[in-house]
Amino acid sequence: MTVPLLCTHGQTVRLAGKETMMKRSKTTALLLMGTAPLLLTACSEEESVREGLYTSVEACVEQTNDRYNCEQAFTSATRLAEAEGPRYASREECIAAHGADNCNEMRTSTGHSYFMPFMTGFLMAQLMRGGQPAGLASSPAYRSPNGTWQRPASAGGVYRAGMNGTTAMAPVNARPNAAPTVSRGGFGASSAGRGGSSSGG
């Protein structure tokens, strides 16, 4: 039997709004250790994630009618691209992954040269709680020469991208500049041992 364990925020990458994000695990179920009944807890509120891929702030506004958040998402995606975007030791590797004219030479503080692709789009994800926006996340996105889209796998992930040149990329399935898709976050239905009460906080 597969037991849903963690309430997730779907494909949400890093939530920008500090005040909306807990600094602790949503739940810490232990199924095997000890003798307690399952400590499964449900996410207490209905949550969903609205996510879209855009090639410009204007395209984002056109789809969402939300200029403020589109600009926020673009700005933070740009920052993330600098910090966590893919890095290549040579121009050839960068061009192979991102196409000619898409690669920029950079230098570390100690003078080492490396190459990063230009961000060609950004993902904006909004966490919706009870129908209200409760958090904003964004990630840089890059178009491959074959037309598919990718984002750094570690944007919000547990391993950093670009650790000395190896960058894990995750595919982006959304179509660019289309209406945002909605996905449910949080499994929610399962709760045992605690009478279905919330995980608190």
Binding site: L5, L6, K18, M22, K23, R24, S25, K26, T28, A29, L30, L31, L32, M33, G34, T35, A36, L39, S154, G157, V158, Y159, R160, M163, N164, T166, S197, S199, G200, G201
Partner: protein, 393 residues
């Protein structure tokens, strides 16, 4: 940062034992202490601990690249010659790492100061990730802490995520291992097994003493199967000293933590960090030390390999000297003395957790002595908004 008294949960011992936390009392002395907690503001956590941890972690990983490429650095870190190529190869292959803990001296004022990296066999994981979390949850339900209270602790989620991320690359079978007789270490590997299984990885436990080796130099389990990946809660530098380790470089066994963590679990990384980032606000001055001679006032001497605060000598700025006993010897480093935070007569050491490459949680140990030893109590923490009052039952 404040230390606040609170009523312990009346049933905390039962809660601990139900959840497999059998080492809450060690040798008759309490190890888990919930008669008080530390309170931080969100800014203190994020700017004071989380951001510096992430930055120092990145600086440390960048150094690994330099160290494994330099015979001279390997020599200074006293890494045994037969294992150097193995360590360098594990780094070049970017064999995945799981976790580490940085220890900070900080009282909430000025920048936190890095005392050391515990990047190979960090302990207090289970109590940081799980039992501390459950304490907050219980105290909120009991109305003794406000529902708005939070905790810097996504360690559990991050562990499950990390295992899920590295799962496809791990050779199987995957076993987790610790010393048989250590209840604390066995509890920690059971917890990690739980996290790995929640990430969908089929894995098992084996006592480190039970690992075998086949005629052709592969490490094996009790059914003589070749072990693919071994999580070992056992110091790499100890492994490398033992005769049984001679097959490690050629056996194909994948280790977690990987061999390259030998660079970071070594106190020699502290002077190397200082040489490269001299004056960094979160670093203390540090130098290699031959372990001989009189330590000048204001310095602390630690062996390259020392755990749980053993064999540390402190020459306090006022000239008084403190020393802890222990089994470690060999080359040392010295580090500028920086006092631990003191609250209610106790010395608090802040353990800042990194899972994968994510700074994700905090565990605090308290000791009556300025040197934090293995008998130090674990005290939970919360994040409280400054204006929020604390309900104390």
């Amino acid at each position: 940062m404040r230390r606040i008294a609170i009523a312990p949960r009346p049933d905390w011992r039962e809660r601990a034992e139900q959840a497999g936390f059998v080492f809450h009392t060690i040798d008759g002395a309490p190890y888990w202490d919930e008669s008080a907690f530390y309170a931080f503001t969100l800014d203190e956590i994020e700017q004071g601990i989380e951001d510096p941890t992430a930055e120092l972690h990145a600086m440390a990983l960048d150094l690994v690249d330099e160290v494994v490429g330099s015979e001279q650095h390997m020599e200074r870190l006293a890494i045994p010659e037969p294992f150097r190529d193995w360590i360098a190869a594990s780094w070049r292959a970017r064999e995945p790492h799981l976790y580490g803990r940085m220890d900070f001296a900080w009282n909430g004022i000025g920048p936190a100061k890095l005392l050391e990296l515990n990047y190979d066999t960090p302990t207090s994981l289970y109590e940081s990730a799980f039992f501390q979390w459950q304490w907050l949850d219980d105290q909120q339900r009991a109305g003794r802490l406000p529902v708005a209270a939070d905790q810097y602790n996504s360690i559990h989620e991050s562990l499950v995520e990390a295992f899920g991320t590295i799962a496809p690359s791990l050779p199987r079978p995957f076993l987790l291992s610790a010393v048989r007789e250590s209840a604390e270490d066995q509890g920690t590997v059971m917890y990690l097994q739980e996290c790995a299984q929640q990430a969908g990885i089929d894995c098992g436990l084996i006592a480190i003493e039970d690992i075998g080796v086949s005629a052709d130099g592969h490490y094996t389990d009790l059914s003589d199967r070749t072990i693919g990946t071994l999580f070992k809660l056992y110091p790499l530098e100890d492994l490398m000293r033992e005769d049984f380790a001679r097959w490690l470089p050629t056996s194909g066994l994948r280790l977690i933590e990987p061999a390259w963590k030998a660079v970071l679990s070594n106190k020699g990384i502290l002077p190397l960090l200082w040489e490269k980032h001299r004056g960094h606000p979160n670093l203390l001055a540090a130098e290699f030390d031959d372990g001989e001679g009189v330590l000048a006032a204001g310095w602390v001497r630690k062996p390259l390999h020392s755990r749980e605060g053993a064999n540390v000598t402190i020459a306090l700025p006022d000239g008084r000297r403190l020393a802890s006993e222990g089994p470690y010897n060999g080359p040392c480093i010295r580090q500028a003395f920086h006092p631990l935070a003191q609250f209610d007569g106790r010395h608090a050491l802040l353990g800042s957790w990194v899972v994968g490459d994510r700074a994700c949680g905090l565990g605090i140990r308290e000791d009556a002595s300025p040197i934090t030893r293995d008998g130090a109590c674990f005290v939970p923490h919360v994040i409280l908004a400054e204006e929020t009052g604390v309900l104390v039952a």
